[in-house]
């Protein structure tokens, strides 16, 4: 296991968020184009080609790298937008592309061999043979690990493969089947892995009745919040379902992942980069979370005390934080 500098990889859903992330202390920012080629395809979000080119220039002038997520899966016979996105990322001077689909990886490897390739969490590569496959075939240099591994398992994977790893440090708790979850497609008719949105805003509705707020996806009620109760995202995995006359969270509780208090363990495991999730969040969120992690990482480098959980609980879903699978005790 090697001990190295932990790179802080931060979300940039808009050009303004990109500038905010860079100025708040990001080592690297990641962003996507304004279409279905990335997994955060929401109205008004993401960057066009000119904005990306300007963002790359802004970031590079401040020693910050830019990664472009092209991490959804093309529909059969309609791969042109994904190939165009890879070409534009290369033309804009991006430092790497984050890919998941085998065909898009193959295209990027052939058309832009000099462009660094990272494997998206959407590819769900969580074991050594799978990671080696992408290394050997597409010279993938970094893998973004799914949120299903404990810190010890992350360390073992790094030892076995020698690859750079990027792990989630702050954001959602995944449904343990990242890149393979189709729950929302049953309610919306849209694939989260091809359309780029798990709970597309076009299918989300909130209604107020009797002091409660009910959230629906595709006409199906997913949750009902009493007055003063923290709300959750309207995704099927965070829905509250009635069984035996009692409403409860069957898949996932509304709680946010925060690894800030286990950064020494992740560094010791040999992790290369920490990912802050949230391209769909505002630049106020980016400023707060990135600056907090920057301070925590700088303190870690100085050998100071670990930053405890709590400072960012206001920014997490449900107002609660967890280490998620990093500290899993069910195996």
């Amino acid at each position: 296991m090697s001990v190295r500098y932990l790179e802080l990889v931060c979300p940039a859903g808009t050009p303004a968020a990109l500038r905010t992330a860079v100025e708040s202390g990001a080592d690297t920012v990641y962003c996507g184009f304004r279409d279905c080629t990335n997994a955060r395809n929401y109205p008004g979000l993401n960057l066009d080609f000119d904005e990306l080119r300007e963002g790359v220039a802004f970031a590079h002038a401040r020693d910050c790298k830019v990664l472009v997520a092209i991490n959804t899966f093309p529909r059969a016979g309609a791969e042109a937008p994904w190939h165009r996105a890879v070409d534009q990322a290369a033309a804009a001077g991006a430092d790497a592309v984050i890919l998941a689909d085998l065909g898009v990886l193959d295209y990027a490897t052939r058309a832009h061999p000099q462009l660094r390739r990272h494997l998206s969490v959407q590819a769900s590569a969580a074991n050594a043979p799978s990671i080696r496959f992408y290394q050997e075939l597409f010279d993938v240099r970094r893998v973004v690990l799914p949120r299903v591994l404990s810190v010890d398992e992350v360390a073992e994977l790094i030892d076995e493969t020698g690859i750079e790893t990027e792990v989630f440090a702050f954001g959602s708790v995944g449904p343990m089947s990242e890149g393979r979850c189709f729950l929302s497609s049953y309610l919306t008719g849209l694939s989260p892995t091809s359309e780029g949105a798990c709970a597309p805003a076009s299918h989300v509705a909130y209604e107020e009745a009797g002091g409660r707020v009910n959230s629906r996806l595709g006409g199906v009620t997913l949750n009902s919040f009493a007055r003063g109760e923290p709300a959750a995202y309207p995704t099927p995995c965070k829905g509250r379902y009635v069984t035996h006359g009692r409403a409860s969270y069957l898949f996932e509780e509304p709680v946010g992942l925060n690894a800030i208090s286990i950064l020494p363990g992740l560094k010791q495991a040999g992790v290369t980069a920490l990912k802050i999730e949230g391209r769909q969040r505002s630049r106020a969120y980016v400023a707060e979370v990135v600056a907090t992690f920057r301070r925590a990482l700088d303190a870690l480098d100085r050998g100071e005390a670990v930053t405890p959980l709590g400072a960012l609980s206001g920014s997490t879903e449900g107002g609660k934080e967890t280490h998620g699978a990093y500290g899993k005790g069910w195996r």
Binding site: E23, G44, G211, R227, R283, A287
Partner: protein
């Protein structure tokens, strides 16, 4: 880059003026701000025009009016409408302070949503689009409003500061009165939540009772 969490200069002016000014004058000011934004933030207006065509009502809890923003068309327009006007495709509700913080990018809308300090109903897609389009820009409503005042910007700024001080003092007095009337430990239960809980329990019990009645009826039919 830490965000400035202080409330902007025009907040008191906006709240004070909106409370006492007639609707046509407020409409004219809102329209003038939009015209100003066309010059200072042309991309914002272009992006608003590309959203799904919709009328969005922005309803501040502490203002007697709502703002009716029409997006997804050229030109994007804004009008002042009465509080009780309905028929919008989507509605956004929060306090003036929260709405100004949102427009100026000082606060995260998802965090507000988790805390229930921001309520949205209707076409969620257009609300998400509006949030994202606004967050792309580094807006300052203070600058936009001051620009409208021209040579009177300095006196307007002084007036706004005075109004803000008066509003803050009044708020502190109200909070003090509230603490006197409701001392700690004597908090009343949230009656609405209790009623909601009872409704849910009654619905669950009714469902179970219905199932039991059906089962009994089936047994009775079999025995007969």
């Amino acid at each position: 880059m830490p965000m400035d969490t202080a409330h902007p200069l025009p907040l008191a002016l906006l709240r004070g003026a909106a409370t006492v000014m007639p609707e046509p004058a407020l409409s004219a000011i809102a329209d003038a701000v939009l015209r100003g934004l066309r010059k200072t933030h042309p991309k914002l207006l272009r992006n608003l025009a590309t959203l799904d065509a919709a009328v969005v009502h922005v309803a501040a809890d502490d203002l007697p009016y709502r703002f009716a923003l029409e997006v997804g068309r050229e030109p994007v327009t804004i009008r002042i409408v009465e509080r009780n006007v309905t028929g919008a495709d989507a509605e956004i509700r929060a306090t003036v302070a929260t709405l100004v913080d949102l427009v100026e990018g000082r606060i995260d809308s998802d965090t507000l949503f988790f805390r229930r300090d921001l309520r949205i109903t209707g076409n969620t897609s257009v609300v998400v689009g509006l949030r994202n389009v606004l967050d792309r820009e580094e807006l300052s409503l203070a600058s936009e409003l001051e620009a409208l005042c021209g040579p009177l910007a300095k006196p307007a700024r002084r007036l706004a500061r005075t109004l803000e001080r008066v509003a803050d003092a009044a708020g502190r007095r109200l909070a003090s009165m509230h603490r006197t009337l409701h001392p700690p430990g004597a908090e009343q239960q949230d009656l609405s939540s209790e009623i909601d809980r009872c409704h849910s329990e009654i619905a669950a019990l009714t469902a179970r009772l219905g199932a039991l009645e059906s089962r009994l009826k089936r047994r009775a039919d079999k025995l007969a």
